[in-house]
C-alpha cells in the first residue's frame, strides 16, 4: 500500500486558561453541581407519589406483617428529578461525544428505537399473555430472527440469551448437548489468546477444561499450534473474528475445516460482527455458533452497563439443540413454542436459559435500527466502521506504536501500545488525559497479548470532523507522554472527580450506605 500522510490532522497549541478557578463553598461549579446521596437528603416519610386509599379489609398476610422499618428514604417528585438530573451530568455518554471503546462498540442510539420500544403494544404486554393477543410481538421476534439468519448465513437462531456472555453460554451448551447426543464426551475447549475474557469463564462454567492457543507475532491465531492441539478430547474452539487485535482471521475457513475434521465445533465470539456485517457471512466461514451483541451491532443503548441482548446463530448441526422457547411461523400465525415436542427441530433442546422469552425491548430496538439501515445501509455500516478505524490507525501510527500496523488493514478497531512513551508513563496517563480533552478513553490494557494496549474503535456513526478532533487530542497526548510531561500523570484535572483510589475501595469494601453514627460505633 502507498501511504499519503500529509493530510493527517496535527496538534495545535493547548488552549491557555484565563485564570485559576476559585474554590466555592458549596463545592458546586456553576452548572456542575455536587449531589448528596438520597440517604443524606431523603426521609422515610417523604414521598413523590400519591395513591388511592386502600380498601379496608382483613389482612391475609399470614401473620407475617412487616414490623421493622426498611430504611428507604423518599424524595418529592421535584427533588427526585433534580437528584437524577444532577447525577446524569456527571456521566460521559455517546450523546455527548465520541466513545472510542475497542471491542465495546459505542455508536449513535437513534431515538426512533426508543419510541418504538415504548409503543404500548410492545412495552406494555405480559410475557404469559395468551398467544392470540401477542401475534405482533411474536412477529417482531420472527422478523428479527430472519434478518440475523440471513446476515450471518446460518441455519437458525436462539433469541433468548440476555447478553453476549449469556450467548456464549448458550452456544457452548448447544455444543455440549450435540456432543452428548452422539455419545461423544469431550473435555477441552481451546481459546486463542486474542479472544474475549468471558470466553474462558464460559467454557469453564459448562464444565470444560480451558487451554490457550497462542497468537502469532502478526496478531492472529497460530494455525499450526491450533492444528497440533486438535484431537478427540477437544469439544470446541472459541475464536473471536475479527479478533481483539483488530484483525480479520484470514485462516478462519481452514481453522473451521480442521476443527470439524477433528469432530469438534467452532464457536465464534460475534462481539465484532459490526465490522463485517453485509460483507462477510460467518456461516460461509464454517462457524457453528456465534452470539450477536444486539446492542453493539444493531445499536441498542448501553444504559451505563446494560441491559444487553445476545441472540446466538447456529449451524444446522447445532440447531436441534437450541434453547426453549422459540417462535415458529405456521401459515399466518406465529407460535411461541415453550415445550419440547417431537418434530423436525424438536427433541434435542438443552432446555430453558431464562424465564420468558429474552430481551423483547432490545428486539424491537434492534429491528427498528435494522429496517432503518436496510441491507444496503448495513453494508455501508461495516465499510464506514472499517474506514474510520484505518483512518485513525494511519493518522496516529507515527506518534503511537501500532504493534500490528504492518499486518494488513485493521478492521473496525485500531490497536496501539505504550511502547515508546517516556519512562514511567503509561497507557493510563494517556487515557486520563483524554478525559480532560473531553473524550471518553479508549479501551485500555486489552487485548492482553499487547503490553499497555490501547484499542480504539470509532464506529461508523462518527463524522470525519469528530475523528479529526479526536486524532488531534490523542496526538498531543502521545507527544506529551513521549516528552515526559509530568503534568499528564495527574490527569484528569477537569472531570467531576480526580483519579479514584480503587485499591482503597477493594481493600475496605463499602458497598452500601450506613448511617454515620452506625459507622462511628463500629469504629469504636
Amino acid at each position: 500500500m502507498i501511504m499519503f500522510k500529509e493530510d493527517r490532522p496535527t496538534s495545535p497549541e493547548p488552549v491557555k486558561e484565563a485564570h485559576m478557578a476559585p474554590a466555592t463553598v458549596t463545592g458546586n461549579r456553576a452548572l456542575m453541581l455536587e449531589e448528596a446521596l438520597i440517604f443524606e437528603i431523603g426521609a422515610t416519610d417523604t414521598t413523590g407519589v400519591d395513591f388511592a386509599e386502600a380498601p379496608k379489609v382483613a389482612s391475609r398476610l399470614g401473620g407475617l406483617e412487616r414490623k421493622a422499618a426498611i430504611g428507604l428514604p423518599g424524595l418529592s417528585e421535584q427533588e427526585t428529578v433534580r437528584h437524577y438530573t444532577r447525577l446524569s451530568r456527571q456521566n460521559y455518554a455517546i450523546d455527548l461525544g465520541l466513545f472510542p471503546l475497542g471491542s465495546c462498540t459505542m455508536k449513535h442510539n437513534p431515538r426512533l428505537n426508543e419510541k418504538v420500544a415504548r409503543m404500548p403494544g410492545f412495552g406494555d404486554i405480559h410475557p404469559l399473555q395468551p398467544q392470540s393477543t401477542v401475534q405482533g410481538a411474536l412477529a417482531v421476534i420472527h422478523e428479527l430472527a430472519e434478518w440475523l439468519i440471513r446476515l450471518t448465513g446460518m441455519h437458525s437462531v436462539a433469541m433468548s440469551p440476555k447478553a453476549g456472555a449469556h450467548g456464549e453460554l448458550c452456544g457452548l451448551l448447544a455444543i455440549r448437548a450435540a456432543l452428548e447426543a452422539r455419545g461423544d464426551a469431550r473435555s477441552v475447549v481451546l481459546v486463542p489468546e486474542s479472544a474475549h475474557g468471558t470466553n474462558p469463564a464460559t467454557a469453564a462454567f459448562c464444565g470444560y477444561k480451558v487451554e490457550d492457543i497462542p497468537a502469532t507475532p502478526e496478531g492472529r491465531v497460530d494455525l499450526a499450534a491450533l492444528q497440533a492441539r486438535l484431537g478427540p478430547d477437544v469439544a470446541a474452539v472459541m475464536i473471536t473474528n475479527p479478533n481483539t487485535c483488530g484483525l480479520f482471521e484470514r485462516d478462519m475457513k481452514t481453522i473451521s475445516d480442521a476443527v470439524h475434521a477433528a469432530g469438534a465445533f467452532v464457536y465464534c465470539d460475534g462481539a465484532n460482527f459490526n465490522a463485517i456485517v453485509g460483507r462477510v457471512r460467518p456461516g460461509d466461514l464454517g462457524v457453528d455458533a456465534m452470539h450477536i451483541n444486539l446492542h453493539k451491532t444493531f445499536s441498542t443503548p448501553h444504559g451505563g452497563g446494560g441491559p444487553g441482548s445476545g441472540p446466538v446463530v447456529l449451524s444446522a448441526a447445532l440447531a436441534p439443540f437450541a434453547p426453549l422457547p422459540f417462535v415458529e411461523k405456521q401459515g399466518d400465525r406465529f407460535e411461541l413454542v415453550e415445550e419440547e415436542t417431537a418434530g423436525e427441530h424438536h427433541g434435542g433442546s438443552f432446555g430453558r436459559m431464562v424465564a420468558f422469552h429474552g430481551q423483547m425491548g432490545m428486539f424491537t430496538r434492534a429491528l427498528t435500527y435494522i429496517l432503518s439501515h436496510g441491507a444496503d445501509g448495513l453494508r455501508q455500516v461495516s465499510e464506514d466502521a472499517v474506514l474510520n478505524a484505518n483512518y485513525i490507525l494511519r493518522s496516529l501510527d507515527d506518534v503511537l506504536d501500532a504493534p500490528f500496523g504492518g499486518s494488513g488493514p485493521c478492521m473496525h478497531e485500531a490497536l496501539f501500545s505504550d511502547k515508546g512513551l517516556a519512562e514511567g508513563f503509561t497507557t493510563l496517563d494517556i487515557a486520563k488525559g483524554l478525559i480532560d480533552e473531553g473524550f471518553h478513553p479508549m479501551t485500555m490494557y486489552f487485548p492482553l497479548v499487547v503490553h499497555g494496549a490501547m484499542l480504539v474503535e470509532p464506529t461508523e456513526t462518527e463524522s470525519k470532523a469528530a475523528l479529526d478532533q479526536f486524532i488531534m487530542a490523542l496526538r498531543s497526548l502521545a507527544e506529551r507522554a513521549k516528552a515526559g510531561d509530568e503534568v499528564l500523570k495527574g490527569a484528569p484535572y477537569h472531570a467531576p472527580r480526580r483519579r479514584l483510589d480503587e485499591t482503597l475501595a477493594a481493600r475496605k469494601p463499602v458497598l452500601v450506605w450506613n448511617e454515620p453514627e452506625k459507622l462511628a460505633q463500629a469504629a469504636e
Binding site: V57, N109, L112, H302, N390, V512
Partner: protein, 452 residues
Amino acid sequence: MRYLPLTDADRQQMLSVVGASSIDDLFVDVPEAARLTGTIAGLPPHASELAVERHMGALARKNLSAGEAPFFLGAGAYKHHVPASVDHLIQRGEFLTAYTPYQPEIAQGTLQVLFEFQTQAARLLGCDVANASMYDGSTACWEAIGMARRITKRSKAILSSGLHPHYVSVANTMAKFTGDTLMHDAPTLEAATDIDALIAGIDKDTSCVVVQYPDILGRIADLTPLADAVHAAGALLVAVVTEPVALGAITPPGEMGADIVVGEGQSIGVGLQFGGPYLGLFACKQKYVRQMPGRLCGETLDAAGKRGFVLTLSTREQHIRREKATSNICTNSGLCALAFSIHMTLLGERGLRDLAVLNHGLAVQAAERLAKVPGVTLVNDSFFNEFTLLLPRDAREVVRALADKGVLGGVSLGRLFPDAPELGNGLVVAVTETVTAEDIETLARAIEEELA
C-alpha cells in the same frame, strides 16, 4: 442512511490518508470465497423514519396491551403504575447512552446510582449487601445456587415446589452441565406450603434450599424454621422474591435467616416489556460477598480527597480470573437498575408501604369476589397480591376464552406446569394498584359466563 455522517468526499479523502484506492482494499484479508458482493438477496433496502415507524406500529397494534384490558396476569411479571418521571429520567442521554462505568472519573452519575441501588436492594431484601444487578430473577436464582455450591462445596440443591417453574427450568438447564443435583416436585393445590417437606429433605450433601416468597401460587410462609433447619445442616437458604412490592408489607427473607436473597425487580420501575429486559436482584450476608457474582460498586476517595464511587472487587470477575471467575456474567441491567432506583426514591418507605397495602387490599377484595363465582374455590389461606383459584375445568381454555372477550384474566397453571396435568384447573390471578373495582367485577362476570 441518516445515521451515517461520512460523505463520499470524506470517504475518498480518508482512503487517501489510509493509502487505499478503494474500500475493498481494506477487506483484503477476507478470503475471496467468503466475500459478499452486493447486498444480500431477499433483504430490503433502508427505509425512512416514517416508514419504519409505520411498520413497527402496525405490528404493535396486533398486540393487546395490558392498559387496554382488565388485566390480572402475574406469575413473575407484574403490571404496576410507573410514574412519568421515571421514564423521563432514564431517557436522559447521559444515562441512556453511557457505557459501563470503567472510567469512574466521568461515570460518577451511574456509579452513585448503583451505590444507592445496592443500598436500596439490600435494605428491601433484608440483607447486608447487594450487587449492581443481574440479567433477571431466573438467572439470579441459578447464580445463587452456584454460589451456594462454591461456599458449601456441596452440590445438591433442594428447590421448593413453590418456585417459579421457569426458574426451575433455568436451574435444570445449567445443572446438566455444572453437575449440580436438583431436587424438585411440582406443587400441590393446597393452602399450605411445602416448608415441612423441604426440611425433611435436607441432608449432609445439601448445598442450599431454594424457596420462593410469596410462592408461585401466591402463598406466604414463615421461613424461620426452614432457615434454622438449613443452617443446622451446614447449608444455605436461598430465597427468591418475584414481587418485590410485597416486601413493603411482609417481613423480608433476610430477616428470617435467608443467606442469599435473589429477586426479579421488574415490578418496580421497569414495566412488562413481554418478558425483558428485566432486573435481577441479588443480595446476601456480608461474609459471602467475595463469592457473589456480578458487578459491585463501592465507595472510595479521589486524589483530592473527595468521596467517589468505583466498580470494585473485580478480582472475582471473568476479565481478571478467566476460567477461575465466580461467574461468566459480564454485564448488569444498568438501565433497569436506574429505573428501579428512581421509582424507589419516588416511593420512599411511606410510598412503598402505601403501595403494598393498596395492592393487598384490592387483592383481598378480588379474592373474596372471585371465590363467590359458582364452582370456583380459592386455594390460598395467605397471599399478598396474587392468589390461585381452582376452577371446575382446564384453566388454559378459560384464559383463552376470556382473552377473546378482551379480558386478560390470569395465568393458568397448565401453561406454567405442562407436565403436571393435575394442576390444569389452577388459575393464578394477580391484582395490583392498576386494577379497579370494575375490572374485578368484569373478570368475575366473565368467568361466571364462561363456566356457566
